[in-house]
Amino acid sequence: MADLTTDFLGIQSPNPFWLASAPPTDKEYNVRRAFEAGWGGVVWKTLGAEGPPVVNVNGPRYGAIYGADRRLLGLNNIELITDRPLEVNLEEMARVKADYPDRALIASIMVPCEEQAWKDILPRVEETNADGIELNFGCPHGMAERGMGSAVGQVPEYIEMVVRWCKQYYQRPVIVKLTPNITDIRKPAQAAKNGGADAVSLINTINSITSVNLDAMSPEPMIDGKGTHGGYCGPAVKPIAMNMVAEIARDPATRGMPISGIGGITTWRDAAEFMALGCGNVQVCTAAMTYGFKIVAEMKSGLSQWMDEKGYASTADFVGRAVPNVTDWQYLNLNYIAKAKIDQDKCISCGRCYAACEDTSHQAIAMSADRTFTVIDEECVACNLCVDVCPVQDCISMEQLPSGRTDPRTGKLVLDDYANWTTHPNNPGAVAAE
């Protein structure tokens, strides 16, 4: 049984699965249930400045995108930061941390971009014995209109400024939660690092309208006939999140900076993928909101089994292992040549590969009268679309042409040396190979 104990910024937790700052971590009751269920840590739902708390809408806060059998693929929310008084949250955090000293407890904070506001709240958070803070520079709805959340996260200078204040007035680790609603995710990450942040966490939710009510002609969720953009999360955002994580992990300016991965993590495998891309731990929200806290049991057992199978003794053994293999398009090996191959024993003759290839790609699949589908190597560019649309797992595979063979499509010999676009004769900016 692999040891899932994780050290993130010196904060120990029994496993790398934390609950993200969100409705599941809004109060003591939920967090205690989460810890009892086995979560390694929580990021307490975002605290605001002292005084009358924010108010939420009294209509629907969430919208959803479904797959088959109403499987929730994407969730959108317009909920604001905690709508409970600051002192109540702080008291509860202190009590919970005292009762669960082995679990990570992080306070998420969002106050105005004024030094005094941070100076006021940080000592009070420190008194709770929370293990660190996470700066909510991500929420794209509601609070952004008031100059907070993603409105800060979209301006690297603000990020750096606020992080400096935090490092000045708070002694424990500072994590900066980034918004994906920005063109280049590396810039806010660099700003966080320049300000002295200990880590970044990402992604926060993506600006979105999940659906339109075609009777009322209003976006959903609809409040009295109107809707607003909300923050999108859940399995649908995972690919976007992973790319942003990888960009930060491989950026020379931020390489090595700890990352807490967030974005559609639903299973142990999702978590392992984020961690392979450089995340020291992961944060989960939508999966818990969909299925309840018990899912962490599968995440723990699955990650542990996989680590045993791979011989990883601790999570640190595989964190970042995939980062060196994330590269730019121009460095991909153009001498690598593959062809699709259909396993006729597995094929159920649905013909989706044929429709996809014939209608939308390279006319590289032949269909016989008895519905046998075969790849035409002379046409196949190995685009992988047939693999992607095939309903049968492992029925179609991409097989590499060994060097020395001739590619029937181009009539050229397959070479075993590496050659990429930077040296390709068709590239007007090509540099001579050295």
Partner: protein, 439 residues
């Protein structure tokens, strides 16, 4: 109340509630969420095998996608454009041998997409709404006689009427519908669906129905050919093959189709008599329908005796299992030998590749009631050329006589399925239309 073990043929062997429960819808309609789950399973295959397997070539992937996207009415139109009796076919088609048997998920997992039940969902949805989904083309002034208001005739009449022709549809029975009304197990067509479907179909307009008129009786083909621009015969098979054995004419020996028809027309199933021991001779759908319904009426012992092996049985494996699950005993490789008082003697058979032969070994089963279900025969051919005991047709149902078409069970090439009859009626209508208008 009579008990299941009461001797002879008697009514009310089991409680009315038990009878009612037994005769309830065999395939209950899908609940809304079940619809979504079932529709989501369709892979939207290219040149889909299910469509090829459907005698009416319904665009199944398209209608399922229309259901999945919340437009069952559009799905129903897709179905009805190919098969105007899509509602009944959703209930009675042996889908396990047709669309669902060809479904790639049957190949992949042994669990096909539930095409039949999805089709029922779509057609039920549209039929529950007001009005008829199709409109007639302007009157062409052409008149067509359709003889037989069964699946073939109804399909033909509807298509012709839609194309603007005036149709007079005749049927020998008191009610239209043919085997849909008289020849299918009650649990496959509940709540008067067959008549509701005919009424709905007639909503296209342009069809006049005259019941109680049979070819060879009030109607002659010569007169029809004289009076109308074209004639379509969908008269079915009115006769039942005799067993050809001693005792075939004894009391208690009856035609399975008559038993089924009587049952379908009965307003009180508890008053319908059934034997304590019932033996059904045959191996097709009709045999299963008669056997299962006998059991549901309260017969103690019901046996289907079929002269060949299971693999040769006309009834699908699903139907065989349905019979078995109701407690019907399936006997294979036995042929009727003679019927005697209170029983039937069966002889075992063998087929050494040189035709079926009796082995000489016999077995006697107690039998108060024996049903003949060994096939039906043409009772009237209108003087047309007959081949293989059916009206000879070529192309889209053209008989050897000019201006006369035929389809359904009475015509050559049909395989005694509702859905095949619908296809033949429809295709004949298109051919008649082309012949009448030069289109």
């Amino acid at each position: 109340m009579t008990s299941p073990t009461a001797p002879g043929i008697a009514a009310g062997r089991i409680a009315a509630e038990q009878i009612a429960a037994g005769f309830a819808d065999l395939h209950a309609p899908l609940a809304p969420h079940e619809v979504n789950v079932a529709a989501d399973r369709c892979y939207f295959c290219y040149d889909a095998p299910c469509v090829t397997a459907c005698p009416t070539s319904i665009d199944i992937p398209l209608f399922i996608r229309q259901i999945a996207t919340g437009t069952p009415e559009a799905a129903a139109r897709t179905i009805f454009e190919s098969n105007i009796l899509g509602g009944m076919c959703a209930r009675v088609c042996p889908t396990e041998d047709l669309c669902e048997g060809a479904c790639v998920r049957e190949a992949a997992e042994g669990k096909p997409v539930e095409i039949g039940r999805l089709q029922r969902h779509a057609t039920d949805t549209l039929m529950a709404q007001q009005g008829h989904p199709f409109t007639r083309a302007p009157e062409t002034g052409k008149r067509v006689a359709v003889v037989g208001a069964g699946p073939a005739g109804l399909s033909c009449a509807h298509r012709l009427a839609m194309l603007g022709h005036a149709v007079t549809m005749y049927d020998a029975k008191a009610k239209p519908g043919g085997l849909n009304e008289y020849g299918i197990a009650a649990y496959k067509s509940t709540n008067g669906f067959a008549q509701r479907e005919v009424d709905w179909l007639m909503g296209i307009g342009g069809i006049t129905l005259e019941t109680g008129k049979a070819l060879g009786g009030d109607l002659s083909l010569d007169a029809l050919a004289e009076d109308f621009d074209a004639v379509f015969l969908g008269v079915g098979l009115g006769g039942v093959n005799a067993l050809g054995i001693a005792g075939d004419d004894r009391e208690g020996v009856a035609n399975a189709v008559d038993f089924i028809g009587e049952l379908r027309q009965s307003a009180d199933l508890g008053s319908l008599p059934v034997g304590r021991n019932v033996v059904v001779i045959g191996g097709g759908m009709t045999a299963v329908d008669a056997a299962v319904q006998s059991k549901l009426l309260g017969a103690e012992n019901v046996t289907i005796a079929y002269r060949r092996g299971r693999e040769a049985m006309g009834a699908s494996r699903y139907e065989q299992d349905l019979a078995a699950s109701h407690g019907v005993r399936l006997m294979f490789n036995v042929q009727p030998h003679f019927v005697h008082d209170g029983g039937i003697n069966l002889e075992y058979t063998t087929d050494d590749g040189d035709g079926l032969k009796g082995t000489g070994e016999t077995v006697t089963l107690p039998a108060d009631q024996v049903f003949r279900a060994i096939g039906q025969t043409l009772t009237t051919d209108g003087g047309l050329t007959v081949e293989g005991r059916k009206i000879k047709v070529s192309g889209a149902g053209r008989t050897t006589r000019d201006g006369v078409w035929a389809g359904g069970d009475c015509a050559l090439g049909g395989d005694d399925l509702t859905v095949t009859a619908v296809a033949q009626g429809r295709d004949a209508a298109m051919d008649i239309h082309a012949a009448l208008t030069g289109a």
